[in-house]
C-alpha cells in the first residue's frame, strides 16, 4: 500500500483525487453509489451569494472525446449550502472545497467572507463575466486575475484560497503568476475551453446558450501542457484537471507538476471513475516502487531538443 495522502496549503487530503466542481453537486448523489469519504476532496457546484436558475436547456452536448456544457451556474445560493449541505458533506470525512463565483468584486469578497473558516478550502471560479468590464470574464487578463484574487483573499483570511484558471487566455503563465501575486494559496486548472457544436439539420447550436465549455478526455493534452507551464511559473501548489479518466492520466498531471488532481466529466462516463482512479494510483505506485504519491509531483523530464 502506497501512501496516497497529500497536503495542500496545510490541508491534509486522504489522496490526491478531488471531484471537480459542477459534476458532483454537493456529493449526495454519488454517495448513494459509494462512500465519498474515501475520495480526497469535493469541489462543490459553483456557489453564488444569491440562488441562480442557470441557463435554458439543452445545457449539454457531446462531440467525439469531449462534451460541452452551459449550465449557467444554477445553484441554491451559499446560505442554502451552509444550512443544508455543508455539515453533511464535512461529516463524510472528505475535504470540502467550496467553489465560488460572482459578477462583481463585492460578490467575490462577500461569498469568501461567508465561507471563511467554515470550509477546508475555497476555489475561485474566475471564468465568470465581470459586469463592470462589459461582461469580459475576470479570468482573462492578468490585471483582473490579480485584482479578483486580492479582493477574494481579503474575504478568505483564514481559509486557503485556490484560484481556478481559465484556459481561454493569452498566457496561462502570466495569469498563474498574477494569481500568485494577488495572494492565492494555490491554483487549479484548467476550467473548460469555450466551444460550439452544431445540429446541422436545424442549422443551430445544440446548446441553448450557443457556446459551451469543452471538457473530457479530449482536452487532456492541452490541460497537461498548461499545468506544466503554470507549475513552472509559480511556487504555490497546483491542482491539475482536464480530461482525467484513469489513474495513468492522473499520474501525467502529477508528473507535470500538480500536487493533486480533479476529475469532472469522467464521473458522467463512469460514476465509479474516482474510486477506480484512487485504486489505480495505489497499484501503479506499488508496481513502480513509489512509497509516497507526493514523490511523483513535478518529476517530468523534458526531452533534450
Amino acid at each position: 500500500m502506497a501512501n496516497l495522502s497529500v497536503s495542500i496549503c496545510g490541508v491534509q487530503l486522504k489522496n490526491p483525487v478531488i471531484a471537480a466542481s459542477g459534476t458532483f453537486g454537493f456529493g449526495r448523489e454519488f454517495n448513494g453509489l459509494y462512500d465519498i469519504g474515501t475520495i480526497g476532496g469535493v469541489s462543490t457546484k459553483g456557489l453564488t451569494l444569491e440562488p441562480r436558475l442557470g441557463n435554458p436547456v439543452p445545457r449539454i452536448a457531446e462531440s467525439r472525446g469531449v462534451i460541452l456544457n452551459a449550465v449557467g451556474l444554477q445553484n441554491p445560493g451559499v446560505e442554502h449550502f451552509i444550512e443544508n449541505d455543508l455539515d453533511w458533506l464535512k461529516a463524510t470525512g472528505t475535504c470540502v472545497i467550496a467553489n465560488v463565483a460572482g459578477k462583481t468584486l463585492d460578490d467575490y469578497k462577500g461569498i469568501c467572507e461567508r465561507l471563511d473558516g467554515r470550509v477546508d478550502m475555497i476555489e475561485l471560479n474566475i471564468s465568470c463575466p465581470n459586469v463592470k468590464s462589459g461582461g469580459m470574464a475576470f479570468g482573462i487578463k492578468p490585471e483582473t486575475v490579480e485584482e479578483v484574487t486580492r479582493v477574494a483573499k481579503s474575504g478568505a483570511k483564514n481559509t486557503p484560497l485556490i484560484v481556478k484558471l481559465s484556459p481561454n487566455v493569452e498566457s496561462i503563465v502570466s495569469n498563474a503568476k498574477a494569481a500568485e501575486r494577488g495572494g492565492a494559496d494555490c491554483i487549479s486548472l484548467i476550467n473548460t475551453l469555450t466551444g460550439m457544436a452544431i445540429d446541422i439539420e436545424r442549422r443551430k447550436p445544440i446548446i441553448a446558450n450557443n457556446t459551451g465549455g469543452v471538457s473530457g478526455a479530449g482536452v487532456k493534452p492541452i490541460a497537461v501542457r498548461m499545468v506544466y507551464e503554470a507549475s513552472q511559473a509559480v511556487k504555490i501548489p497546483v491542482i491539475g484537471m482536464g480530461g482525467i479518466t484513469c489513474a495513468e492520466d492522473a499520474i501525467e498531471f502529477l508528473m507535470a507538476g500538480a500536487t493533486a488532481v480533479q476529475v469532472g466529466t469522467a464521473n458522467f462516463t463512469d460514476p465509479y471513475a474516482m474510486p477506480k482512479i484512487i485504486k489505480g494510483l495505489n497499484d501503479w505506485c506499488d508496481k513502480h516502487g513509489v512509497a509516497n504519491v507526493t514523490e511523483l509531483t513535478g518529476t517530468l523530464q523534458l526531452n533534450q531538443k
Partner: protein, 251 residues
C-alpha cells in the same frame, strides 16, 4: 441504483428505425415502470444514453430505442455477448394510486416504450386504455403488448395504420364518448404533451407526464437536465422525474 455490467442476449430491429435490445444481468433488479437506464455505448462517447426500461423480468432487461445519432447507431451494431455498463434503475417512474381504477396511457414516438412497462405493471390490476400514436404503419411496434390492455387504440399520422390522427386526438375522442379515466399517464414529444396538458386541464383530469432532456450524470448531481416547474423553480428530469404531475411542469 447500480452500474450493472449487462450482457446483450438479443439486439434486433422491431420496426422501421426502432430496435430492441435485451440484456442479461448477473443479479435480479427491481424496477418501477417508467424508470430508465443510462447506457454507456463506449469509445469516444463520453455521455451515456438515457433509455426507458421497457421490460424487466428478473435478470433480463429490455430497452427499445430509435436510431437517432452516433450512439444509438453504434448500439445497433452490437451483437449478443457484448458487455455494456448500464446505470439503473434511474428516476421516479409512474405510480398509480389504489383508488385509481381506470388508467389511460397516451403515448407517441419513443414515448410508447415506457408505457409498455406501465401496462406490464398495472395491466392485471387496473382497467387500462392505451392510446398510441405512430408516424406510419412501418413505425408500429409493441402492439402485442398493448393488445393486452382493456382497450387499445393505435393510430398513425398518415392513416396507414388505424385512424389518421395523433394519440391525444384518439384519447380526446374516447373521452367524448364517455370513457373517462381516473388517471392519465403519458410520454411522447413535447408538442404532444403540451396538447394533452391543455386537454386534461380543461377536463379536470389527473395526469402525469414523462419528460425527456439531455443529461450529464443521470443521477441528479450536475443540474444539466432541468425542466421548469409552474412554481418558478427548476427540477431535475433524471432525479426528480422523469415523471411529473402535468399541472406542476411548464412544457
Amino acid at each position: 441504483m447500480k452500474d450493472y455490467i449487462a450482457t446483450i442476449v438479443k439486439n434486433e430491429q422491431i420496426a422501421e428505425n426502432i430496435h430492441a435490445v435485451t440484456f442479461a444481468l448477473d443479479e435480479d433488479v427491481k424496477v418501477r415502470c417508467g424508470q430508465f437506464g443510462d447506457i454507456a455505448v463506449g469509445g469516444t462517447h463520453l455521455l451515456r444514453r438515457p433509455i426507458a426500461i421497457c421490460k424487466a423480468e428478473g435478470r433480463e432487461i429490455t430497452f427499445c430505442y430509435q436510431i437517432k445519432g452516433e450512439g444509438t447507431q453504434k448500439l445497433k451494431t452490437m451483437g449478443a455477448g457484448t458487455r455494456l455498463n448500464v446505470l439503473m434503475p434511474l428516476g421516479n417512474g409512474f405510480y398509480v394510486e389504489k383508488n385509481e381504477k381506470k388508467v389511460a396511457l397516451v403515448g407517441g414516438g419513443v414515448g410508447v416504450f415506457p408505457l409498455v412497462s406501465v401496462l406490464r405493471e398495472y395491466g392485471a390490476s387496473k382497467e387500462v386504455s392505451a392510446y398510441i400514436g405512430y408516424r406510419n404503419k412501418n413505425a408500429v411496434c409493441g402492439v402485442e403488448e398493448f393488445e393486452k390492455a382493456t382497450k387499445f387504440v393505435g393510430v398513425t399520422d398518415d392513416g396507414s395504420y388505424g385512424e389518421r390522427m395523433n394519440a391525444v386526438q384518439a384519447f380526446a375522442k374516447d373521452l367524448e364518448a364517455g370513457n373517462r379515466p381516473d388517471v392519465v399517464l403519458a410520454c411522447g414529444p413535447t408538442p404532444m404533451l403540451r396538447a394533452l396538458k391543455a386537454l386534461v386541464e380543461k377536463e379536470g383530469l389527473n395526469c402525469y407526464v414523462s419528460l425527456e432532456e439531455r443529461m450529464g450524470c443521470g443521477i441528479g448531481a450536475c443540474l444539466v437536465c432541468v425542466c421548469d416547474l409552474t412554481n418558478g423553480k427548476k427540477a431535475r428530469v433524471c432525479k426528480d422525474g422523469p415523471v411529473f404531475k402535468a399541472d406542476e411542469v411548464t412544457l
